[in-house]
């Protein structure tokens, strides 16, 4: 796709916009002119540019912040910018003037549609095909509702394509929606290495083999976000602007969490309440500081902007880490945060890595906030294009949003998709408005965040105790041979058998975590020899009957479950003991060891589960995991959250 540069003269302000290349015909010029308001005029260049270069040019024209520029100055800026990348040509500017009164009156009937479309796309970042899908989907929905009304009132006008096009022209001209290239060219002077996918922030793009039939060049496309539709150099990306109601509050004196929220309603434990209050006050402080800044005088604000331009605002300043141990009841603590932000009028995004968590949380949120518009997004979700004040989504869906939420809550940020993928952090950061807050929830924060905590740069709260106020079980170490050797010699070592016998005698459900999928079945078979009258099963990510097996395990039909790291998170089985084989393996890092250990003793009727690390060597990850668990227990005791029976007991640290 090609584009043209347009310069908008609004009398008090001038700015550059990227326009689609459809202004060749006179008729289309008329239609663009019909969108202009009374005193505005639009200058359109006659030069056709590729989308990436046009995008770069527009960004360059906008980055200038020193006051207002005249149209002549802008024209000069376009010329010099194009000259610097070797496109030197004379540019003619066509001036479009607003149409006469009578023509514009016919236009005003689209205004209703415009505001509707604006609501659907606000905070969205969509490819052109996705935008078409959205509009068609939403119009059908709306038409369905209208049709019901129409039968009663007797008049109903369907919305045609022409009206829609007019709406999108108006949105583009007045900056409510921005046209950009899906692949951003940071600097054309430095060559193609400076290309970046604007949706997933991948730098490593792939050059298409043959020439693209759309633009006639060798397109570059992004292979890491292919499943959301191909983002390529000639694909237009539409970014809707989100007008946050949060900014409109000038004073936050009467908007404290205490005023707006009845926190008792959520029935949290003391420890949970403490952590939630910390998070709420962080949100409040940040928003009220932003409000103070915006109410400053023009010159002081300009001064602030100047400073921010030269000094990147610290990305950590908008983040708050809620470090809660496994089984602390993180999900319950989300509710007050959501309620507070909704009471302020803001939009909330709740991102979790896994689809089953989304499906499980959705009905609970619907129940807790019955009058709120909630949208649940995951791969293949039917609510893809709906507008919601609260959006519950899997991680990859965040790529469809840009500056769309005042509060972003990221659950389990150390889990699979985030783990080792810096781009997704960027995606999550981009989904939030510049003034908004990100709240990170984790039981095992990644090491770089832990470092920031040590440096004192990241606001955080530690919640060191489970909701039932018993300490976390500290892992016990057993020295046994590797699983491979056990399978080869076809024997299970004596200490392991003894420990298993004891666990089974205590009526416990036993998790056995292995490193490799291939070993699970064989190991279960080997165990069955030693425990013939116990029901032992194996499962892994490649097992079709996984959900049934986990359910049977929960119902105590299966007593021992041999599995891999797929069950390390989000599974709650009462009265369970945990055995981690080959604990020194590289696959089991500190975070996953703590998570697996966190499967034990989660219910209040059997809070003292046992955790065993079975290994030959004493690896750093094991030491660190045990140290982390112990330090959490110590913290819980110091802060007095543990049950009285544990107070003064030295044992906790040494168990």
């Amino acid at each position: 796709m090609y584009c043209k540069i347009g310069l908008m003269d609004k009398g008090v302000d001038t700015y550059a916009i990227l326009l689609p290349d459809e202004l060749r015909h006179n008729g289309q010029c008329q239609q663009w002119a019909a969108c202009l308001s009374q005193n505005d005029s639009l200058y359109v260049s006659n030069v056709r540019l590729t989308l990436t270069i046009g995008d770069w040019l527009c960004r360059k024209l906008r980055s200038y912040q020193g006051g207002r520029r005249t149209i002549a100055q802008l024209e000069q800026a376009v010329y010099t910018a194009l000259d610097s990348i070797g496109i030197a040509m004379s540019i003619d500017w066509v001036k479009l003037k607003p149409l006469s009164e009578q023509h514009r009156n016919s236009h005003t009937r689209y205004m209703n549609l415009c505001s509707q479309v604006l609501q659907w796309v606000q905070g969205r970042k969509l490819l052109y095909d996705e935008w078409l899908g959205l509009v068609k989907d939403q119009l059908q929905v709306r038409d369905g509702i209208d049709a019901n009304c129409a039968t009663s009132s007797g008049q109903h006008q369907p919305i045609g394509e022409a009206e829609l096009l007019q709406a999108w022209r108006w949105l583009l001209l007045y900056g409510h929606m921005q046209l950009r290239s899906a692949v951003e060219w940071q600097d054309p002077r430095k060559g193609r290495t400076e290309l970046r996918c604007l949706r997933c922030y991948e730098n490593n793009l792939i050059r298409a083999v043959g020439k693209c039939r759309y633009c006639g060049e060798h397109c570059y496309y992004c292979s890491s976000c292919l499943q959301l539709g191909r983002s390529r150099t000639c694909a237009p990306l539409l970014i809707g602007r989100y007008y946050s109601p949060i900014i409109k509050h000038t004073s936050y004196a009467s908007l404290t969490p205490e005023h707006l929220l009845e926190i008792e309603r959520f029935s949290l434990s003391d420890a949970q309440l403490m952590a939630t209050n910390h998070a709420l006050s962080f949100v409040y402080n940040r928003l009220s500081r932003y409000a103070e800044q915006t109410t400053l005088g023009y010159y002081r604000r300009k001064h602030l902007i100047y400073h921010e331009r030269h000094q990147e605002p610290d990305p950590l300043s908008s983040q708050f880490l809620l470090w809660a141990v496994t089984g602390a009841g993180k999900t319950e603590m989300i509710f007050p945060l959501v309620a507070y932000m909704v009471a302020l009028g803001g939009r909330v995004l709740l991102a979790t890595p896994r689809r089953d968590v989304v499906l499980e949380l959705s009905p609970r949120l619907h129940k807790a906030f019955p009058e709120l518009s909630i949208v649940t997004l995951y791969g293949g979700s039917g609510e893809r294009w709906q507008y919601g004040q609260l959006v519950l989504a899997t991680t990859h869906q965040l790529m469809r949003y840009q500056h769309g939420f005042d509060l972003v809550i990221i659950d389990e940020l150390d889990a699979f998709p985030y783990h080792g993928d810096k781009r997704l952090y960027r995606v999550a950061a981009e989904a939030r408005t510049p003034h908004g807050v990100t709240i990170l929830l984790s039981a095992t924060p990644p090491s770089y965040l832990q470092k920031e905590i040590h440096r004192g740069r990241l606001a955080h709260i530690k919640l060191p105790v489970r909701y039932h106020r018993h300490p976390l079980p500290v892992p016990i170490r057993l020295k046994v041979p590797l699983v491979v050797d056990q399978l080869r010699s076809y024997t299970i070592p004596r200490p392991l058998i003894r420990a298993l016998q004891q666990s089974l005698a205590e009526e416990a459900q036993v998790f056995i975590f292995l490193q490799r999928i291939a070993h699970t079945e064989a190991y279960a078979k080997l165990l069955r020899l030693s425990f013939p009258d116990i029901n032992i099963e194996a499962t892994s990510s490649q097992d079709a009957a996984r959900t049934e097996k986990v359910m049977l395990f929960r119902q105590r039909e299966i007593r021992v479950l041999v599995t891999t790291t797929i069950l390390e998170r989000g599974v709650t089985v009462p009265r369970s003991h945990v055995y981690i084989c080959d604990a020194e393996a590289e696959l089991f890092d500190e975070a996953s060891l703590v998570q697996m250990a966190g499967r034990a003793g989660r219910s209040s009727d059997a809070p003292n589960g046992k955790v065993y690390f079975l290994s030959q060597q004493w690896s750093t990850a094991q030491k660190r995991a045990i140290k982390q668990i112990k330090s959490m227990n110590r913290l819980a005791m110091q802060q007095g959250y543990l049950l009285p029976q544990y107070l003064g007991e030295r044992g906790i640290e040494d168990v």
């Binding site: 298409a208 083999v209 043959g210 759309y214 496309y221």
Partner: protein, 291 residues
């Protein structure tokens, strides 16, 4: 064992290779030696694919229907007595896994796969070439040469493939997708086997429903009259290879497509070619998958 510093030292000594195109796990550089498929190691798929993904490919190695290259004796071809398309061979069986691969290539638009899929097509091209050799009764002299069928045909002036072409897409779908998946495969074959590529077909109208959403009868009806010869390219072809073609009694053309389901598309294409050709034609086809 190898943590921290050791790991980085290892990375220097054993540099990281490109990840697998399909599952993006790192590839170990060992060549595959699978005795059941002796030609597999020649394709050098291990440059692009990891070992597991290579094993997942369901090669169509047993051909029981000599006409359409299916691995069962197919009733369709026994019913059909005469068709414009002479013979077809396919590379893989179209199962769930292969469906996902093709989906990624065709609908999600991962164009890197075109080179890989083109390479996977080469064994099928050899099979079709062998059929052509049999048709002309040249098996004896081919055997003596100890060459691959396509390479042998390439040196013979009187037989051999004259052109390779691809099933065209409608303009609208081409713009949607940005590339023609069959054309990309054909160009890979063209460079590997030294057969000139010409765009000999064009599409006359745009079918509104996707083929993959239609039944058999509807497909056959829909495919008819959808294709026509691209006269411009024909002229160019005949002009450029005038001397070679003037010696021929028949012209041999290879059509490339991604999937063969009922064969109606390829048949319609072959009919369209026959309609515009000045000489008798032998039209064979090669497809990536056979369902």
């Amino acid at each position: 064992m190898f943590n921290g510093g050791w790991r980085s030292l290892l990375n220097v000594l054993l540099p990281y290779s490109t990840p697998c195109i399909i599952c993006s796990t790192p590839i170990s550089a060992h060549p595959i030696n699978d005795n059941s498929l002796p030609w597999l190691s020649q394709l050098k798929l291990e440059k692009d694919l990891c070992r597991q993904c290579i094993h997942e490919i369901s090669w169509l190695d047993k051909v029981l229907c000599r006409r359409c290259g299916r691995s069962i004796r197919c009733p369709d071809c026994q019913h059909k007595l005469q068709s414009a398309l002479w013979v077809n061979r396919s590379a893989v069986r179209y199962n769930e896994q292969m469906k996902q691969w093709l989906h990624r290539y065709k609908f999600q638009g991962d164009e890197r796969l075109s080179i890989l899929f083109g390479k996977m097509l080469l064994p099928a091209v050899e099979q079709v070439s062998l059929q052509l050799i049999n048709r002309y009764g040249l098996e004896e002299s081919w055997r003596k040469s100890r060459k691959l069928p396509t390479a042998w045909l390439q040196h013979s002036t009187t037989y051999g493939w004259d052109a390779v072409t691809a099933v065209p897409l409608s303009v609208q779908r081409l713009q949607e997708r940005g590339f023609n998946q069959a054309e990309r495969l054909a160009s890979v074959i063209s460079t590997h086997c030294f057969i000139p590529y010409y765009n000999l077909l064009s599409r006359t109208h745009h079918s509104l429903v996707r083929h993959s959403h239609q039944g058999r009868q509807a497909r056959v009806m829909d495919s008819k009259e959808q294709y026509s010869g691209n006269i411009k390219q024909w002229h160019q072809w005949l002009n450029e290879n005038g001397t070679a073609i003037s010696k021929r009694e028949t012209l041999n053309i290879l059509i490339v497509d991604d999937v063969y389901t009922t064969g109606s598309t390829l048949n319609a294409c072959a009919e369209a070619l026959l309609r515009v050709s000045p000489l008798p034609l032998v039209v064979a086809s090669v497809t990536w998958a056979r369902s």
